[in-house]
């Protein structure tokens, strides 16, 4: 094999690698479960691109007493989500492996942090488990600013696809039932 062919092979492999990144994520989108996660804020303008938001979901802070905990709830965890009567998905259990405790649930992978995170943390916060899912760096496109309500107190959520390994992929924002394009930093 000549060096030209070897170079072509390497270039081809690099392009395959790039396409495989896309393919793997698209596969997750096509085959995953769709969940709707409620965002902790009620002000949609705080989620615009120019605000550099760090989105906090309802499932970002989980009360220990409100879920079943199987394992250490520290480091890599799987949070079991169940669809509530309000249409949003809520945490019902935390596992340190991919087991389900309930039927009809979906697992999302995250990282749990041990409280207290700061010495000044409020008393009683040790009951809270802080979890990040890698989908916090999302924002609403600046173009959508004129269509967003200017006040607070709105229902804001993010539609997320979760693949069978628990990897989430955010798809779009939903503000009072209306969809908005989502951007990732």
């Amino acid at each position: 094999m000549t060096r030209g062919w070897k170079l072509a092979l390497v270039a081809g492999a690099q392009i395959v690698i790039l396409l495989s990144i896309i393919g793997v994520r698209q596969w997750a989108v096509w085959t995953g479960h769709t969940v709707v996660l409620k965002v902790a804020t009620g002000d949609p303008r705080s989620l615009l691109q120019d605000q550099y938001p760090y989105v906090r979901y309802d499932i970002s802070q989980i009360q220990r007493s409100s879920v079943r905990i199987a394992g250490k709830a520290d480091g890599e965890v799987y949070v079991e989500l169940q669809r509530g009567s309000d249409g949003y998905w809520h945490a019902v259990a935390i596992h340190d492996n991919g087991d389900h405790a309930f039927k009809g649930t979906v697992l999302i992978k995250g990282h749990a942090l041990r409280p207290p995170l700061y010495p000044t943390q409020a008393p009683g916060s040790a009951d809270v488990i802080y979890v990040t899912y890698g989908i916090e760096d999302v924002s609403i496109a600046q173009d959508a600013a004129r269509d967003l309500p200017a006040d607070g107190g709105h229902d804001i959520a993010v539609e997320v696809r979760i693949d069978r390994f628990g990897q989430p992929q955010p798809r779009r924002f939903i503000v009072d039932g209306r969809a908005f394009d989502l951007h990732r930093r």
């Binding site: 060096r3 030209g4 070897k6 170079l7 390497v10 270039a11 492999a13 690099q14 392009i15 690698i17 790039l18 396409l19 990144i21 896309i22 994520r25 698209q26 520290d74 480091g75 890599e76 990282h111 942090l113 041990r114 890698g134 760096d137 496109a141 992929q169 955010p170 951007h183 990732r184």
Partner: protein, 424 residues
């Protein structure tokens, strides 16, 4: 003992090596002439021997490094410009166009580089275009991940970037591409440790995996040095390993790091298994490097030093909570600095001497700031520090000159008549 299979000599590499040797020799003889080590007549005789007897040919040879430097800078600047262009317009471009344009850029860079190297014998500019292609590929991995909602801090991206770069480094015997690939592998290990142990007492011990990687890189460099066809990569691996190791040991010289470890309440033997696996793998690679030349005293000494570093890593992983480690790692840091200087001096290897001296200077400066910042008035701190730095610079320069002079004397004894006459 041969560790690597022996590929046939690469004509391209051979051609580059010959050319690089001639250009380096042309620069060296000019320096020797300026230092009056050789006469003008001897300079011309040496240059004529490598086919550069004419003044213009000498000038052309000495300009080679400039072409390389300008071409590499051009590749970096152009690559940065293209990446910034894509990053700025990423949201407004259709997905297919984004990925298609990036892939086309990569293929075009490689195609142009290949044509310049193989058809027009313009190795320097062709190699810079290959570098441009690699810059675009590495940037594409992260840009594509960003747009398709893969977290850009995913460790896998570093690994994919390195995996795509490494074969090209070997195919074109490119040291700068190898350096990029090594940076990718190191980034992958660091990102993986951060991802696995983001905020727990295990985080500190997971840093030891990076130390094990550094030892393995150094040993891989030595194994490359044993094969003529891979020798040009030996120092890239070895110096990269040393830089990573020195960086890690430097961080561990601070008492605050160990105070934080103790405060975290970490218990003995709490390190994750990956630390011990990494130390074991690094020990195997170091042993392979030693067994490749068991009778070589330098290799034996290196193997002993590597074993010592890995043993220390295992001890720290097992019993991490001890305030005395700051002192131990200070000793290790300065011992490494002196060992690097000694190795460079013994083997007449100037880059190692310079690295060792830089390490020594940084270490001394850090300890000065560490100890005296809070104990002296600000003005006195700077005045005394400036004077001390002058003293250190003077001492280091004298040491460096004497080491380099010893190297030259040992390597190339001056001819009986000419040099003496020229010096006179």
């Amino acid at each position: 003992m041969c560790i690597f299979p022996g590929p046939a000599p690469n004509p391209h590499t051979q051609r580059m090596d010959d050319q690089a040797y001639r250009e380096r020799l042309a620069r060296d003889v000019a320096a020797w002439r300026r230092a009056a080590l050789i006469s003008g007549e001897q300079e011309r005789a040496i240059l004529a021997r490598i086919g550069a007897g004419e003044r213009r040919a000498v000038g052309a040879l000495r300009l080679g490094w400039l072409v390389s430097a300008v071409a590499v800078i051009a590749a970096i600047v152009l690559g940065a410009g293209i990446v910034l262009l894509f990053a700025a317009n990423w949201q407004t471009m259709p997905g297919v166009l984004r990925v298609g344009a990036l892939c086309a850029g990569i293929v075009a860079s490689y195609g142009a580089g290949y044509a310049l190297i193989e058809r027009y014998q313009m190795e320097r500019i062709g190699a810079a275009l290959l570098l441009l292609g690699v810059i675009l590929y590495n940037a594409s991995v992260f840009l594509v991940a960003q747009v398709y909602h893969v977290p850009v801090d995913s460790p896998l991206l570093w690994l994919l970037a390195a995996a795509g770069t490494l074969p090209l480094a070997y195919l074109y015997a490119s040291r700068i591409l190898l350096l990029i690939a090594i940076a990718g592998v190191t980034g992958w290990v660091v990102a993986q440790m951060v991802a696995w142990y983001p905020d727990s007492p295990k985080s500190q011990s997971a840093a030891l995996v990076v130390g094990a990687l550094a030892v393995a890189l150094y040993a891989v460099g030595r194994l490359h040095g044993d094969r003529a066809s891979l020798r040009r990569f030996a120092d890239v691996y070895a110096l990269s390993g040393l830089l990573v190791l020195l960086g890690l040991v430097y961080v561990f010289t601070f008492a605050d790091v160990w105070d934080a470890v103790i405060d975290s309440g970490v218990r003995p033997a709490a390190a994750p298994p990956v630390v011990y696996v990494a130390v074991g793998v690094a020990a195997l690679v170091a042993a392979a490097a030693w067994l490749a030349r068991p009778a070589d005293p330098v290799r034996r000494t290196e193997a002993a030093a590597q074993a010592g570093v890995l043993a220390l890593a295992a001890v720290v992983a097992t019993w991490p909570a001890w305030a005395g480690y700051a002192l131990v790692f200070n000793a290790v840091y300065f011992a490494l600095a002196f060992a690097i200087i000694a190795r460079g001096s013994l083997l007449a290897d100037e880059p190692y001497i310079n690295l060792g001296l830089a390490t020594l200077a940084i270490g001394l400066l850090t300890r000065y700031v560490d100890v005296f910042w809070s104990r002296m008035a600000t003005s006195a701190f700077f005045i005394v520090g400036g004077l001390l730095l002058f003293a250190v610079a003077f001492a280091v320069e004298r040491l460096r000159r004497s080491l380099v002079r010893e190297m030259r004397d040992g390597r190339e004894p001056p001819p009986a008549g000419g040099a003496t006459e020229a010096a006179a």
